[in-house]
Symmetry: C2
Subunit: 178 residues, 2 copies
Amino acid sequence: MRSLKYAMLGLIDRAPISGYDIMKEFNKELGNFWTAKHSQIYPELKKLADEGLIELKVEISGEVMEKKVYSITKSGREDFLSWLNREEDIDPTPKEVFRLRMYFANHLEATHLEEMLNSQLMQREEKLIRLQKAMEEYESVPEINQVIFGDYILIESAILREEATIKWLKKCMGYIKK
Amino acid sequence: MRSLKYAMLGLIDRAPISGYDIMKEFNKELGNFWTAKHSQIYPELKKLADEGLIELKVEISGEVMEKKVYSITKSGREDFLSWLNREEDIDPTPKEVFRLRMYFANHLEATHLEEMLNSQLMQREEKLIRLQKAMEEYESVPEINQVIFGDYILIESAILREEATIKWLKKCMGYIKK
DNA sequence: CGCGACATGTAAGCAGTTACATGATTAT
DNA sequence: ATAATCATGTAACTGCTTACATGTCGCG
């Protein structure tokens, strides 16, 4: 499905960007639903350039250090928009190891099960707080044609996801005690 | 991390089972959070048998058709339980293509964006109804030491996930009209 | 001068999907 | 008979992670 390709094309389309900075984008809002390591990003950039979807311009930061800045081409933009407009089915199962583990919870001792749920709960609550802080940066909902609209709705989605997970973990803990 | 290995060991531990039936388990409750195709299952079974974690017994269904039924060994059970009891960090980002797409929603026409959100909404609502029906099969919450406890909490988790996604999709649609 | 961030790449291996391939059994 | 399901496998490929590998820049 080449999803990484389109994630990268979308980022490059916003403004010319380097592989390093694409990597950093995957640590921000987008990173809640898509991410990649530099070892995947650099070869993909090469491939996209070979396919004529992006163009390279080398910048120099400091004395000698090269920074490869890529921009999207006409054909890259067409490809990206055609992907973006495609109608798709809902995503296949996103795999989650913790829930796989919990599927076999009947083998765990009650006290240890509770510890595991609690450890997850704390980590999820921390994550939720971080997301809520990010959301507070927005005074109002961005217009749908603004670039930050995407950032906004992804934070919201991530918050709803964490809240649902927390609710579930608490329910599970409720099933233990008594 | 060999998660498939442990998913399969856990299933085999419940009762001796064939590759084909493991595949079917991934279409049930567990399939909401972990799944695999037969092309991945059969080689993995071979590997687990080579590692001495499972044992094979061939059954004949009908006249000649062979069914390979695997059971867990002592060392397989130990390996599984040690994995199950391990404390782990929260799962890394589960990737979702639809939300990646929505990150770039500012490029979409309002009417088309609404169509896309609506199409997702309908599919998610259908899925939710199916999950709720599965939940209704349970008269009460199973005890935590029962095998079906895992099934129950995974259905609940899947329901909460769908509800959160539906809530998000509706919010997004709300941002469009006006 | 040392440390953390900047910056880019490759190689090996593990995980997963799609397609190829075959044949038996059961229900209609 | 014929279609759906049962049943098992392999091959080629894509996707992704971990580790290897190198060097610069800015700050204290």
